[in-house]
Symmetry: C2
Subunit: 372 residues, 2 copies
Amino acid sequence: MSEKLNIALVAPLVTPIGPPFLGGAQVLLHDLALGLAGRSHNVTLFAANGSRLADKNGQTPPNLRIEEVTVKSGELAPADFQSMGENFDAGAFFRQGELFLQSFLKINAAGSFDIAHAHAFDWPAYALGPLSQTPVVHTIHLPSVDPHINAILATTYRETGRSRAVTVSEACARTYAEDFPFDRVIYNGIDTAEIPFGPGGEGFLLFAGRMAPEKGPDLAIEIARQSGRKLLLAGGIYDQRFFDEKIKPVVNADPNLDYLGPLDRKALHELMGRAEGVLFPSRWEEPFGLVLAESLAAGTPVVSWQRGAAPEIVTDGQTGFLVPFMDIAAAAEAAGKLGQLDRQECRRQVETRFGLEKMLDDYIDYYREVIA
Amino acid sequence: MSEKLNIALVAPLVTPIGPPFLGGAQVLLHDLALGLAGRSHNVTLFAANGSRLADKNGQTPPNLRIEEVTVKSGELAPADFQSMGENFDAGAFFRQGELFLQSFLKINAAGSFDIAHAHAFDWPAYALGPLSQTPVVHTIHLPSVDPHINAILATTYRETGRSRAVTVSEACARTYAEDFPFDRVIYNGIDTAEIPFGPGGEGFLLFAGRMAPEKGPDLAIEIARQSGRKLLLAGGIYDQRFFDEKIKPVVNADPNLDYLGPLDRKALHELMGRAEGVLFPSRWEEPFGLVLAESLAAGTPVVSWQRGAAPEIVTDGQTGFLVPFMDIAAAAEAAGKLGQLDRQECRRQVETRFGLEKMLDDYIDYYREVIA
């Protein structure tokens, strides 16, 4: 194996990879592909037709190639991890199986890849990987929600001594612990050079996330009110009825609340840097929580629950406060103390533990271990 | 590759392999395993726990090993090829996926198998095979009934230039022709040494098969009546209501009809040898039709439809008569002429074209071609 690896990245196929991103897995894949190419590895991304990866100059590096997988419109549906099993879509399932088999056969036939790294939360991708001659590893971006996925990874672990999968936090790994251990936890890395350090000091709090119940913008409003602070809310409307009933009337009636709509990442990061603190009162167990890391990178401490991956990202009392799940009063009290925390320390911790370069180091180290 | 091959046979997992057999695939697998071992190849059969393979002396040859796959009672259901898609059983589907992955990983980890030959009509088996380092080939024992199976085999053919599958007749192959070509057609072979040549001459006709509408015992009765011949019916009752309504009262009322119940193969073959002819009026397109070959081996010509694999097994006017589908009058007329045919020629054609040794030759030749 030469110093430079030939890496196949295999994307989820439900949408093309490129902005606007569907979720964290797509963002990670974008940053990983460009980061690996930036380190002179050869990267081929197997992804749905229409995928576009561009660096800061709007260019696709010459050593980053996209192998388009032709997906017809509406043929595949996003993993619906709240109704898995009940609304099983056989057409989409089998079609994904065909497309993943096609990609893995192309990777094997090429004979030139050192490793394939897949990111799809789909049973066929996990079932097909272990038999591939080119080693296949997976990043799992969602907590345990599908017993069939757990069972096929458990089979892989039992027969090979490896799950051939990593996940994005210890908290996410624990949700699978009854079935199998992950090979490693590798935290998502963020490109801190892209996020300016901000001075804070403008006294307002910020909620950044989808307008949907699971992200808890209504809880953020309650926390801000009890702490007597102004709150800005940024994020797209994913659940219109929830927004119309729980957010819009409350925001309209209170001059201390302001809804800004969806912001591009540059504007969001700049706003984060001006906030006194970011509230992250998610109702579900976040497997990572990109907003937490981005906020800290901007120098802004956070308030979140003692739940999901938050305790791995936030150092309680240093870079934010973690309070018991759904304890609004405790969150409000903590929000009042955010101004006392050291913003430079927030930035420093993210750079050390969640920097993009660290993630690239970790993945390359893992690739070499699997290939060895 | 040495002269002696190390062969992994992978069975359907819905039942153990051993008498009484569920269907033709299980019979074929039994004869193939013992036949290959008889030629001194090393055979390992991956099959459900409880599988037992014994030769004519009731012994399992030392070079035939069974690797039991633990299947819990009721966990898997037989392929229901009449309602595929409508009654999708997710639990059984994913469980089969895990068990096939387990078997293929064991085969790969062993590092000693030259080839794996699978017989399961299950999507996961077809999806997993092409990525295996140990080459995997399939025998498909059923006509085209599942578009997802066709699609995954088509993907394999498109990416590798091979379907890595054979089937048991040209007729069965034609049902898949729109999607992919088979690597080969290999006819089922029967052990003619086990079937005594019979003199015929007792003037009666015989129907052998399950008492179920698709096999057409009611049509056999109609044909026999119109030809004015006595008819014996042998076979288990698979559809009790059909038997009670369409067969039992008719047989009870007609002294020229007799239902013998299920017979063991030895008794059946002896009875075939005494019959003037065997009627095979199947309502579905038989992918092979074991009864046709067995009857000819016993020296007894047949009447069947110009349909399914029958024209490949029966030489019209020499070893039987093929008449248009559902033309009862033509079948009855043909039945009257069966006594004119040469019983030695029936035996000779089966020995030449459908003997067990020929099938073993064909499979070993195919294995060597795939391995090469």
